[in-house]
């Protein structure tokens, strides 16, 4: 029933590979449960939060424990330090207050994984600089007026926010065209980033 690892999105594969078996994990914005299923197959105790009822139903049908709710309002219901890891994949930029979300992640999880599309990637910069238009790229495929991404973030911004919130960066991974790239120059080269945070 678990997704084969290779079918996971690259950021989810990184997370799945770095969560130790047996960990308690909260996947915030878990979608249809692909990461949860992979982590469960590795012996983790995984819970999810998801806003879309159809996705929740698909998770429940796989025997996954998912609560329908929106992370901005319902993460506060979760107890302090209840999880070894809190995961927020490709969701930070859709939250009402990413700074508060980061605080919540580090409250409910002893550690956190956060992945997001990097708004400072050269393609995005080029679209703004040369086109003068809000970028529509592979990583940010929806027009500005319809996108769920209300708080665009860059690798440099995220590092600064993590520091401001007293989080330690325990690991970082960068991708361009599905391939892992080096950390050097990541703010301009990375299409998306994955950070592991400790508190």
């Amino acid at each position: 029933m678990a997704e084969p690892r290779s079918a996971l999105r690259p950021d989810l594969a990184v997370i799945a590979d770095h969560v130790p078996p047996g960990s308690r994990v909260l996947d915030i914005g878990c979608g249809d449960g692909a990461l949860m299923a992979a982590l469960r197959a590795r012996g983790c105790d995984v819970r999810g939060i998801e806003i879309d009822p159809d996705s929740v139903e698909r998770c429940v049908a796989q025997g996954l424990s998912v609560v329908q709710g929106d992370a901005d309002n319902h993460l506060v219901d979760y107890p302090d330090g209840g999880f070894d890891y809190a995961v927020l994949s490709q969701t930070l930029q859709t939250t009402a207050r990413p700074d508060r979300m980061l605080e919540q992640l580090l409250r409910v999880g002893k550690r956190a994984f956060v992945s997001f599309p990097n708004f400072a990637q050269w393609r995005t910069r080029a679209a703004l600089m040369f086109g003068g238009r809000m970028p529509v790229t592979r990583a940010l495929p929806v027009s500005w007026y319809a996108t769920a991404n209300i708080h665009h973030v860059t690798v440099a911004d995220f590092r600064e926010l993590a520091q401001e919130k007293g989080a330690r960066i325990e690991g970082e991974w960068f991708f361009s065209s599905e391939r892992r790239i080096a950390a050097r120059g990541a703010n301009i080269r990375a299409e998306f980033a994955v950070f592991e945070l400790g508190r």
């Binding site: 819970r47 025997g63 998912v66």
Partner: protein, 364 residues
Amino acid sequence: MTGNSRICRLSQPLPLDGGGALEGVEIAYQTYGELDGARANAILVCHALTGDQYLADTHPVTGKPGWWERMVGPGKPIDTSRHFVICANVIGSCMGSTGPASIAPDGAPYAMRFPVITIRDMVRGLVGLLDALRIERLHAVVGGSMGGMQALSLAANWPERAGRVLVIASTSRHSAQNIAFHELGRQAIMADPNWRRGEYYGSDAQPVAGLAVARMAAHVTYLSEEGLTAKFGRNLQDRPEKSFGFDADFQVESYLRYQGSGFTKRFDANSYLYITRAMDYFDLAEEHGGRLADAFAGTAARFCLVSFDSDWLYPTSESRHVVHALNAAGAPVSFVELSAPHGHDSFLLEHETLDRVVRGFLDG
């Protein structure tokens, strides 16, 4: 499908929350499917306020299909080709389990001498039935509305007895509004001159008018404005114009009167008083020192809660309250709010997503 109706006489007196114990308790129940060799495939389905054990077979009084026949059967979401499904009439009710209409040890019906019972007392009776059936651990306990209260009570008080707990359109406590509507129904029954302080058994004059009004008031709480408007609007019943009188001019009036009078043929007025009282007293947090999470401390069961967006009797916020407590207790819990136009009664009606959630949760 045909059920296998039986009566189980509990060998021990049933201790009650209100004090004392009830002797010689009988529980009427139906089963569907086969119990496996390990006695591990049983699902207990708990019925709502005016439900009974006729879950998936023809009701002997009304001749209508079982109340959840669409959900329970071979190949259905609660699959009787794989699971042994049990549904019992709760104590205090009137379809074969010991209740106010039963004969007391002195040879006369209990009537209002029947002790006031609680949801936990009902569940104690159900656990007695499970003991008699030699089922130590249920695959799952499932319930909607008052059935959901029983499922939560079983999970909180007998946590080792069920592996999964599915609670649909329910609550962990009766709100002031819930109690208010129940009081309306009870007062209607007790104001009926034929009620005679509950001593109407064997008489030709039954408190049917009061019971029908109680049912009509409750029925309105089971529906939504959207559902009522879609079904009836302000349409007139069998007449071209208003009568300027108090006949059932509107279709919705006629419908409620029909629901009310049909109900009196199958339900006992005193049972209605006792069961609504049990629901009003229900407050799972209060039973566990005031903190709902403590009710579920150390539970090993998996939970799933479902609410409906048009249910104003037990709204989504009530389910979220339980989910919050289960999270605080560290229990694995799923929750989904389903979109449905029909209010609280949605759990009894056709809903494909509900079916998938039920099937997925029970099998996953």
